[in-house]
């Protein structure tokens, strides 16, 4: 996560009844849409405030963040802020619900791979590094009491909340904006999308693709535009947040069982769910689980779109098929 920079772009002219604002914050692209354009500035202000708090509490890259301060705890109990308590609680819930696929104790493994600062500052390529396959400390070794906001971790354990914090923040902000401003809202934090309130006629139109971008820009990779009447949508991809060391391509989705980037069976997975945390945990878990994820999606009827390494698309759970002549790579 990083400081906020504003790069507002105008909303498409055709969107007369939907207000849109874009900027960059927490190391990713932010977009907020509201069904009442007169509430756009207020919606953005709420979201900016939320993201500022999120960054101060949860950033792995800010030396003054509350999360960074946990590194010095050295095995002692620490009292957390309410915000970090919620964020860690969500991360541990995700770890439990995903049978450990999504594990917040990957922080040290992520740093060892070279992702130890905002991605914009990580060299795109560099000399070879020694990769050691070893399990991360594991979420079960964290002692956490939500009620007293207390946390204790084994010495040397470092948290990375990247797999859940954005999605949780999107859910939280969308709900808050809709309740305060009484309008429909879509919040996108780097493609982790949550909606609340009434959707515009025909639903919120979201283009799923390999890497998040502005909707006016050409899509990256296989793309498909779908309409979302409510709930959330999240996409995880090994084509984003990549870097190279000694000719080996590394990415940010680690398998906690060996602490290494997950092999790419699915290069991109999108999931729709009632909330963005659920969607994102399922999508990221599928990247880590590989082929086994498909059977789970089928059995549980999870609406998902999976793109394999060769660009073939499989959809499940009522996700609409890609129409002939659909959007393709730019």
């Amino acid at each position: 996560m990083s400081a906020t920079t504003t790069t507002t772009r105008p909303a498409p002219a055709a969107e007369a009844r939907v207000g849109a604002s874009d900027w960059t914050a927490i190391g990713t692209q932010i977009r907020v849409l509201v069904t009442n354009p007169g509430r756009l500035a207020a919606a953005r202000a709420i979201l900016e405030s939320d993201l500022d708090g999120l960054d101060r509490a949860c950033s792995r890259f800010r030396p003054d963040s509350e999360l960074a301060a946990l590194d010095a705890a050295d095995g002692r109990w620490v009292t957390l802020s309410p915000l970090l308590t919620e964020a860690i609680g969500v991360a541990l819930d995700a770890a439990r619900d995903s049978d450990g696929d999504i594990d917040p104790t990957v922080g040290e493994a992520m740093s060892a791979l070279g992702y130890d600062r905002d991605l914009a500052l990580v060299a795109a390529s560099g000399p070879a590094i020694k990769l050691s396959a070893r399990p991360v400390p594991g979420w079960r070794r964290i002692s956490f009491d939500r009620g007293s906001r207390s946390l204790r971790m084994p010495p040397g354990t470092r948290l990375d909340l990247g797999a859940t914090a954005k999605a949780w923040a999107a859910d939280r902000a969308a709900t808050r904006i809709a309740q305060r401003l009484r309008c429909g809202v879509l919040v996108s934090l780097g493609g982790d999308i949550a909606t609340a309130g009434p959707a515009p006629r025909g639903g919120w139109r979201v283009r799923v693709q390999d890497v998040t971008g502005h909707p006016d820009d050409p899509p990256s990779g296989q793309a498909q535009t779908v309409a979302l009447s409510d709930g959330a949508l999240a996409t995880s991809s090994t084509t984003a947040r990549r870097w190279e060391r000694g000719g080996a391509v590394l990415h940010h989705i680690l398998n906690p069982r060996d602490g290494l980037p997950a092999p790419t069976i699915w290069r991109t997975v999108s999931v729709a769910a009632a909330d963005c945390v659920t969607a994102n945990v399922a999508a990221t878990g599928a990247i880590i689980r590989g082929r086994a994820a498909l059977a789970r999606f089928e059995q549980q009827g999870i609406p998902a779109r999976l793109v394999d390494l060769d660009g073939r698309v499989i959809t499940t759970g009522g996700w609409p098929p890609v129409p002939s002549g659909a959007e393709r790579s730019a």
Binding site: V90, G202, V206, S229, E298, Q299, G317, P320, P321, P323
Partner: protein, 99 residues
Amino acid sequence: MFDQPKRTRRRDRARVNAITSVVGVSGIAGAVALAVALPGSTHSTSSSTSSTSSSTSSSGSTTQSTTNDSGTTTTNNNSSTSQAPQSTNQNAQATSGGS
């Protein structure tokens, strides 16, 4: 908001019943599509490049498998579409991808 994932999990568990699951894994455009029957499946199908569909019913649920000529295979269980997005050919308002 923390009740939402719990509700979803409960609903997802409810969906895990003795249903028939069929999934097709398509080849590249122009190739023959190969259907793979997953555990519990009672039906599998294969098709050529043109759009085809098949359906089967078991334990009160229907599973429909469709392969179209863009190489996409869809398996649709009729009890699971409450959160599924819909098709649209209008311009996107947002994108969702890796970031």
